[in-house]
Amino acid sequence: MSKQILMIDDESDIQTVACMGLTMMGGWQVLTASSGKEGIAQAKAHALDAILLDVMMPDMDGVATLKALKADASTQAIPIIFLTAKSRAINRKELYALGAQGVIHKPFDPTTLASQISGFLGWKD
């Protein structure tokens, strides 16, 4: 069964690379949003299996977006996996503590991205 994923990242190049991997390798449907605000709107509008959320974004960053999603009843159940360009290990614990289901560090391998997400969420291929 095909999964529907929302990717929120202000970098369109990364969106492109990631989308290509997820669709080609996982066969998933990928929605994209360039900001937290846009992402929240998308999340409310679609039935999502997971959200891939960039941590550092202008205006509303990943942490604020997560909090907003968790605060909203319609979106709070959606599993969220962070994408971060910050140093390894440092705030991984903080991010998990916020309620994230997984943390993927940039740069990531687009060809294994789908299996990484499946791993975090316990999905079987």
């Binding site: 080609m24 560090h105 990531f108």
Partner: protein, 725 residues
């Protein structure tokens, strides 16, 4: 008459009176029964009668002396002229002449006789005869002289004793003694010899008569050794005796060497008495107050032999004793004077020393004041807070900066409690550090503080204990505003964070795109195209590692990483590391071997420790020949014996190319690879070992390497066991 004046010529004139006189004179009995000496002289002084008493006393018979004048033979020479004068007076009417004269008997002995005279004159008044009646007074005179001598001796002794008591001038006393003795005893030469130990004998005082200054005595004026008296043999002879009395040089009982010396000086009689005195205080205390031989008091008689009377000997003895006392006094005085001089010198020295010390103290105080003034000037010019805080948390010194920080006149801070000056919140934060510093530990910490203006600032605070004689007397406190540094650090953190984000974001796109291309899902590339994509991909991966390593190292060396160590089972760590590196080992065809580590535990942050272990394994794999084995081991080590020293030693061993000895020192520095091409060829960053070192040091561990170039290397590090933390 004939009996009285035999053969007396009869004068023709005045026959009556003459007869009457003759009748009287004829009385033989009268002449000879009297106990007195009776001599009848004619007017020329010639003896007419010489009674029996006279014969007995002188040894001359009347017959032998008749017709002779007394001054021709009987009188001692020195009285002869005087006698003639007396006779002249008697014949010219002075009838009451009483005199004494000294006769020399036939045997040579002397007799002192007191005479009274009667003149027999004719009617014309002419003196025809003189009748002298005498009594021998030799014994009386001798007794009187003896008494006078005794009196004079006693007087001299008293005088000298008094002088000894009164005068401290030894030279004067000695000179008086010899002069008085010489006059009193009528000696020719009286002198005192001093015989100091270990020194030459010398003449201390001397009195000499003109009479004695003959050619022999000229020797006396000569110095040693020409002067026989100064010969050691002379003094040494008397050194052992109490007193030496030589009446005559007849050789009886007198030592030959003394006879020889005395003969040289024409001495006929000698009286020598040793002078004893206390040992001089400077000549060693071992003698104490025992009397020692000091010298000699000697009297010489040269004109004739002389029999020294017991009285004279006693006088000399007593005088020698008194001289001894005088010497003791003089030596004591000299010693006292020496002591006074010495004490005065000491006192002067002490005074000078005291003065110097006082001057020094004044100079020191002045220098101290100057230095204190300078210190105050310097500390007041410092923007930092400088203070001295005592063990009761009271300020004892503070600089001007306190006034600007706390808005309190800086002179009014001294003596106040720290808690009165800083806010309660700050004081509570400071307190543990303050108390730690007061135990003798130097403490540095950072604290956010509030100034009087309400402005918050970051301060770096150092407390340096003032330890005197092993006790903490207080602490020097140095507080500096590090707000600017904090702001700069914050800016740097921001910058690093942004750069790291931007770099990773960029690389993510590049690497992701290349990965897609490399899979071939977007269409096949020709072999060259495929190769180029692989190269690009490999280098983006390396770039990623480089960025990660640079950021990790920056983070760790800036001290921002706060370790949250936990107890980790060592076997789990080793297996996890091997598992993480399994793929790489397979790729390089390397076997990873783990030596079981039993149930060891370490206290560490697992992520960090894994990073260190995987870095070491990665290096070992990269540099091992294909098919080789890399060993990983952990074992307990006990470096001291104290439980706190229990540690676990990890090691990673390879049989690779090894490290040249000159690189062993620098291998843990950044970008210090064995070969500069390693980074490119082996995909390393040159930071792996530097990161390992940071990690191990942060865990209070130690890292080192042993390597044989061409044979392989073993990297070691130690970590504390849980019990020891």
């Amino acid at each position: 008459m004939s009996a009285l004046l035999p053969n007396a010529p009869m004068t023709s004139s005045g026959a009556t009176s003459q007869n009457t006189h003759e009748a009287i004179l004829d009385t033989e009995t009268l002449l000879n029964v009297a106990g007195s000496l009776i001599v009848v002289f004619d007017r020329q002084g010639k003896i007419k009668r010489f009674n029996r008493t006279c014969e007995t006393v002188t040894g001359y018979t009347e017959l032998a002396v008749q017709g002779h004048c007394v001054w021709d033979f009987l009188l001692i020479p020195e009285e002869r002229t005087a006698m003639k004068g007396i006779f002249h007076q008697l014949t010219h009417g002075q009838t009451n002449t009483y005199y004494e004269s000294t006769w020399v008997g036939k045997a040579g002995e002397t007799h002192v006789i007191a005479w009274s005279n009667t003149v027999l004159a004719n009617p014309l008044g002419r003196v025809d005869f003189i009748i002298s009646s005498g009594i021998e007074v030799t014994e009386q005179r001798r007794s009187r002289r003896q008494l006078e001598g005794q009196y004079r001796q006693s007087h001299l002794l008293v005088e000298i004793t008094q002088k000894v008591r009164e005068s401290l001038e030894l030279k004067e006393i000695l000179q008086t003694t010899v002069s008085e003795v010489q006059a009193l005893l009528g000696c020719d030469h009286v002198f005192i010899l001093q015989a100091p130990p270990n020194s030459l004998v010398h003449l201390a005082a001397e009195a000499i008569t003109d009479f004695a200054q003959g050619p022999a005595q000229s020797l006396l004026s000569r110095p040693w050794p020409a002067n026989p008296l100064l010969q050691p043999s002379y003094v040494d002879h008397y050194r052992r005796q109490s007193i030496s009395v030589i009446d005559a040089m007849d050789g009886s009982g007198v030592a030959p060497e003394i006879v020889a010396i005395l003969k040289q000086l024409a001495v006929k009689s000698e009286l020598a008495v040793p002078i004893l005195a206390h040992a001089h205080p400077d000549e060693g205390a071992e003698n104490g107050h025992k009397d020692n031989f000091w010298g000699l008091l000697i009297a010489h008689h040269c004109t004739q032999s002389r029999r020294w009377s017991p009285l004279e000997i006693d006088l000399m003895q007593q005088l020698a004793n008194q001289i001894g006392v005088a010497i003791n006094h003089a030596q004591l005085l000299e010693h006292l004077e020496d002591i006074v001089i010495e004490r005065t010198a000491k006192l002067t020295k002490t005074n000078q020393q005291l003065r110097r010390e006082m001057d020094e103290r004044l100079r020191t105080e002045s220098a101290l004041r100057r230095s204190e003034k300078q210190l105050r000037l310097i500390t007041n010019a410092l923007p930092a807070l400088v203070a001295y805080i005592d063990i009761h948390h009271r300020y004892r010194f503070n600089n001007y900066a306190y006034e600007t920080w706390y808005d309190i006149p800086y002179q009014k801070i001294k003596g106040r409690q720290v808690s009165d000056i800083v806010s309660l919140e700050v004081y509570q934060q400071m307190l543990p550090y303050l108390e730690e510093a007061l135990t003798g530990e130097k403490v540095t910490f950072e604290l956010e503080m509030i100034q009087s203006s309400g402005e918050r600032l970051w301060a770096s605070i150092s407390y340096i204990p003032d330890i005197q004689e092993g006790r903490v007397k207080g602490i020097f406190s140095l507080v500096s505003d590090i707000s600017d540094r904090k702001a700069a650090e914050h800016m740097k953190d921001e910058f690093v964070s942004v750069v790291s984000h931007e770099l990773r974001t960029t690389i993510t796109s590049v690497q992701g795109s290349l990965t897609h291309l490399a899979t071939g899902r977007l269409g096949d590339l020709n072999p060259q195209g495929q190769e180029l994509v692989d190269i690009a991909l490999k280098n983006t991966e390396r770039l990623t590692r480089l960025i990660n390593d640079v950021l990790d190292l920056e983070r760790m060396s800036s001290g921002k990483v706060r370790l949250t160590p936990v107890v980790c089972p060592v076997p789990d760590l080793l297996h996890s590391a091997a598992e993480a590196m399994g793929a790489m080992a397979n790729e390089y065809n390397i076997k990873l071997a783990i030596k079981p580590a039993d149930a060891l535990q370490v206290y560490a942050e697992p992520d960090q420790l894994m990073q260190a272990l995987t870095n070491l394994l990665s290096n070992a794999i990269k540099f091992s020949p294909k098919g080789a084995t890399v060993w990983m081991q952990a074992r307990p080590v006990d470096s001291g014996g104290e439980p706190a020293d229990k540690r676990v030693e990890f090691s990673v061993k390879d049989v690779g190319r090894g490290i040249p000895s000159d690189k062993l020192e620098t291998i843990f520095e950044r970008f210090q690879q064995v070969d500069t091409s390693d980074a490119r060829e082996r995909g390393g960053t040159g930071l792996g070992l530097a990161i390992c070192r940071e990690i191990i040091q942060q865990h209070q561990g130690r890292i080192w390497v042993k390597s044989i170039h061409g044979k392989g290397s073993t990297f070691y590090f130690t970590l504390p066991q849980p019990a020891s933390l």
